[in-house]
Symmetry: C2
């Protein structure tokens, strides 16, 4: 991990851009974090495209920093400045065509789009976690928040250093991931936008049901994909405070 | 309304038993409530039987008092010391028989059990509200919390003085109430226990979907009817603080 720039935000949060091999990322640490008082860490998921998403990501990171958490994110494979995969681009185009035609989306398209992404992204987040936890100002425990839910499911299964996750039921989930969901045992807080235009509500409820975790909460609210109300964001933050502090 | 006893709890909350005609009830007011600073009011619903439920009710009332709310409850028709209705007792016995036999519960039994209860209880809660709001130490706004969800739905439709409600999707809902649910427009916070043995989960989700409110949140958690986690109780309390303060 190599830091490429740093700046102090006006609330004392230190924002550092980094690269991990070819992967760009951002780390935010609260003013209070130091080698003597390392901060717990939230891995901040997203749908891909750090530049475009920066305003939303930094807002969430500052909110978390106020609670004493460090926050880090990395770019997804095939998003932002990272090289495109022709197969993923084809799957994305097929998905867009189905959605625009108002057709049901084939399982096969979802599999082609999401499964290779999950297979590639999950080890990258794990490598980022290795590098981040080696920093003296970052401690545990670690939470994963939001982004492509299939990546969150995979990480919750394969990465024992993640001890709680906030998942956003707002993207396509391959059938194969349901089996993995049954293996998840960490506490989960699942956000669902009831009228999410890009999301199959019943499938989201089925996925929530499938999670093996003894402690899981579904927080469903009115509105579309980007309409998560402030109160739901606050509830997710409190979930992390309960489980990572 | 006639007060029949009063005691100060150790946290300064004033607990007063009252009767409203033949109906027994309890009012809790925070130590801070006075004619000059009247407290907002939460009507505390329950499944019937004030004596038996007292420990749970007083715990919720004290929690609300700490947030500055007065809380009041009245006995349900046919429960506690109130006269039984032979028709309701018959419906209750029929329901118990169906549940013990593991049979699906006939709509007809639910209708016989719940509809007359709602028709009788809702005007009683409205009469209680008249009397409570006439006390100088009680102001508005008013919330309704928990209890038989069908009574909450009816009150949310017919009682304009109720400005927010926490509903517990944990009891039978006659089909006829779905039409009323569509007329509800106040902010709602709906609790659902995912594995509630006495509750049809899909029907609870359908009811949540039916509510006409623009602002409604479903907070679903693992466990059975009585297993609502502390964090869900806290989230419901914050909902009232947002909407009644």
């Amino acid at each position: 991990m190599r830091f490429t720039s740093e700046q102090h935000l006006d609330d004392g949060v230190l924002e550092r851009a980094f690269t991990l091999g070819e992967i760009p990322g951002i780390l935010w640490t609260p003013g209070s974090a130091s080698a003597s008082a390392p901060a717990p860490l939230i891995l901040l998921g997203h749908p891909g495209g750090l530049h475009k998403l920066y305003p939303r990501l930094v807002a969430r990171a500052r909110h978390s920093a106020a609670e004493g958490f460090a926050t880090a994110t990395i770019e997804l494979p095939g998003s932002g400045d990272r090289p495109r995969s022709p197969a993923a681009e084809q799957a994305r185009a097929d998905l867009r065509r189905a959605l625009e035609a108002g057709e049901p989306v084939d399982e096969e398209i979802v599999d082609r789009l999401v499964l290779p992404l999950v297979d590639k992204a999950a080890p990258e987040w794990q490598a980022a976690l290795d590098a981040l936890l080696a920093l003296p100002e970052i401690g545990g425990p670690v939470g994963y928040s939001g982004g492509v839910i299939a990546i969150g499911v995979r990480l919750a299964v394969v990465e024992p250093r993640i001890s709680a996750a906030v998942l956003f039921a707002g993207s396509f989930v391959p059938r194969a991931l349901f089996e993995e969901a049954r293996q998840v045992t960490i506490p989960l807080h699942v956000l669902l936008q009831w009228d999410d235009e890009g999301n199959d509500r019943q499938r989201a409820l089925d996925l929530f049901d499938a999670f093996g975790s003894e402690e899981k909460t579904l927080n469903a609210n009115m509105g579309g994909h980007t309409g998560v109300p402030q109160s739901a964001g606050d509830a997710a933050a409190r979930f992390f405070t309960r489980h990572l502090s």
